[in-house]
Symmetry: C2
Subunit: 162 residues, 2 copies
Amino acid sequence: MAKEIERKFLVRNDGWKAGVTSRTRIRQAYVTAEPDRSVRIRTRNDETAQLTIKFGTGLLTRDEFEYDIPHEDALEMIEFATGNVIEKTRYTVDFKGFTWEIDVFEGAYRGLVIAEVEMASEEDEPLLPAWLGQEVTGDKRYSNQALATQRLRPELVHAISH
Amino acid sequence: MAKEIERKFLVRNDGWKAGVTSRTRIRQAYVTAEPDRSVRIRTRNDETAQLTIKFGTGLLTRDEFEYDIPHEDALEMIEFATGNVIEKTRYTVDFKGFTWEIDVFEGAYRGLVIAEVEMASEEDEPLLPAWLGQEVTGDKRYSNQALATQRLRPELVHAISH
């Protein structure tokens, strides 16, 4: 079991692109998405796949269990998605001792870019790169689960151009 | 992905006990139990554990994905059970080329004994041992999921003594 502590931001400009250290194509869907628990299927680079089960309603911290599963199983389970299948490319960028993940969405959410940093404890205080926009930590509209299950909300995408 | 095809019966007497080939203590709970999908956590002999995801509403056939998980993860996830945690001992008995599983329930369902045979295809016709009682294939009240999530139903247990 792992605890998840993170801060999440919209992205103001392309400044992060100069520091990219990795790039992963992600396809993901939820087979269960309830307020206090979720089961997510995710494929990476059309090669590997994980199943992730999360419990809890806390904004900063949730109980999380993740397992590798056969890619073929993932494709079959994605057929049973609750809501939207999300496609995005995840880039990593190192900044002052922390690794940031920048998700560039495709498909229905094209134009949406979200940056996230994971912390080892709630006391960690990662410095904020200049290319970050508005903080959306705890804004449920931008959670993976909400993006997958809510009706598509164009205003989420347009927010980032300001 | 495996398809599940099975017949399920109540058990009339202890005739099966002479043919037991294995014995496994099972503890299981659902973290998701919806009409068309379920996520089940199961421990065996307090040593190993599996996560099982099932989709579909068919009575005979369902899509099923099963993965080994750390026993410790299972214990943590069982804390998030939807409904009852089921405890039972599963015995296997070979009869005329088929393996029967006999589940002897404990706790709230003490007295309930269910026998189940899995078939490779819907054309298989396993011979029925004399110790079988009423067939309950497709009777949702006796599904693992219903036993775990429904309010306890004493009449399910009492049915077997007749």
